[in-house]
């Protein structure tokens, strides 16, 4: 592989006479002592001679018009595509919050619904759990029976925590466990 010389990049411009004067002198001095660059310069000049010997093919006005028209169509298509892509990018941030708000509202409704179902005054949660979870503390301030043949009483149990308010009827035998309701 040929090792490239740092002056090689200036050779084309040197051949075309396009280098500034000071750089031109430097490149010229370098070529005088660098065989590789001199050889490369010869190649470039040979190529230039070959290109100059060939005539540029003439292009008719119709061909140019056709080319311009085709190019315009292609550019318009690219332009439309890029505008569409830009519109999609712009649309997202505009619509996203609208959907976001809808989702937020729906989520809030779900939370409220669960709240009403579980802990609301008509909630099913506390009732479904029965008496096990809730404290059943009950204080009886007064108790009476105004009907003949009934005797009211009450008692409380600690385990399970429960108060029983009972009216004994002359029609019913028995009582509480031991001597109350149902005892025989």
């Amino acid at each position: 592989m040929r090792r490239s010389c740092k002056f090689e990049r200036y050779l084309t411009a040197f051949a075309d006479g396009e280098l500034p004067e000071k750089l031109n002198r430097k490149v010229e001095a370098h070529i005088a002592r660098c065989g590789a660059c001199a050889s490369e310069l010869d190649s470039i000049r040979a190529s230039d001679r070959i290109l100059k010997s060939h005539r540029v093919p003439a292009v008719s006005d119709d061909t140019w018009a056709q080319f311009r028209h085709g190019l315009k169509l292609e550019l318009d298509a690219v332009d439309r595509e890029s505008r569409r892509a830009a519109k999609v990018r712009e649309t997202r941030p505009v619509h996203a919050p609208v959907w976001g708000r809808a989702y937020a509202l729906a989520a809030a409704c779900v939370v409220v619904l669960f709240a009403v179902l579980i802990v609301g005054p008509f909630g099913v949660g506390p009732w479904r759990g029965g008496t096990a979870a809730a404290s059943n503390e009950c204080i009886v301030d007064s108790i009476e029976s105004l009907a003949a043949g009934y005797t009211p009483m009450f008692f409380s149990s600690e385990d399970p925590e429960m108060t029983v308010i009972w009216v004994f009827s002359e029609e019913v035998e028995g009582g509480i466990r031991g001597e109350g309701p149902g005892a025989k």
Binding site: A107, V111, A134, A183, K184
Partner: protein, 171 residues
């Protein structure tokens, strides 16, 4: 995402604040479960434990440990919201009814519901060729029940046993 979090937080705050303030300031929700308790004949009883309707599962421990009946049958469950100072009535079997009149909740910060519970028996009587219902107060009691708690009432004979009521109240 941030909007969702904010909306849910507000909903949760409302959820926590609403039941405590709104329900307690206006009234309570009461639920009455009606049960028939009976003692089966010795021939049907055998060695088995007390027969319990599956719908009475929440009360099974209380019924089995507090009473000596060996059969408990679910009759009905009813629920109503009632404001303080007003009363709600639940119809029960065999001309019986229960009236629940809540008075207040949380006196002295106790979280107890004060209410008057009255058990009526209404029997049609024929007087002078006209049928006039006679309403008797079988039981009247004033109680303070823990908010969310349950109390058992009962005793009146009904067909097949005695009536037991599980009264729950929540403000």
């Amino acid at each position: 995402m941030r909007t969702t979090v904010i909306a849910c937080s507000i909903a949760l705050l409302l959820m926590l604040a609403a039941p405590a303030s709104a329900a307690s300031s206006r009234g309570i929700v009461v639920e009455v479960t009606s049960i028939t308790a009976a003692t089966r004949p010795a021939s049907e009883r055998g060695e088995a434990a007390a027969a319990l309707d599956p719908r009475l599962a929440p009360f099974s421990k209380n019924l089995r440990s507090l009473f000596a009946y060996d059969s408990y049958t679910f009759l009905n469950k009813d629920r109503d919201a009632v404001e303080f100072g007003e009363a709600t009535v639940f119809k029960l079997p065999e001309h019986l009814s229960i009236e629940i009149a809540p008075e207040q909740l949380g006196r002295d910060g106790s979280n107890m519901i004060e209410m008057v519970v009255t058990l009526f028996r209404e029997e049609p009587r024929r007087e002078g060729g006209r049928e006039t219902p006679k309403r008797e107060v079988v039981l009247r009691t004033k109680i303070r029940l823990k908010n969310g708690g349950t109390v058992l009432l009962g005793g009146p004979p009904i067909r097949g046993g005695v009536l037991v009521l599980a009264l729950s109240a929540r403000g």
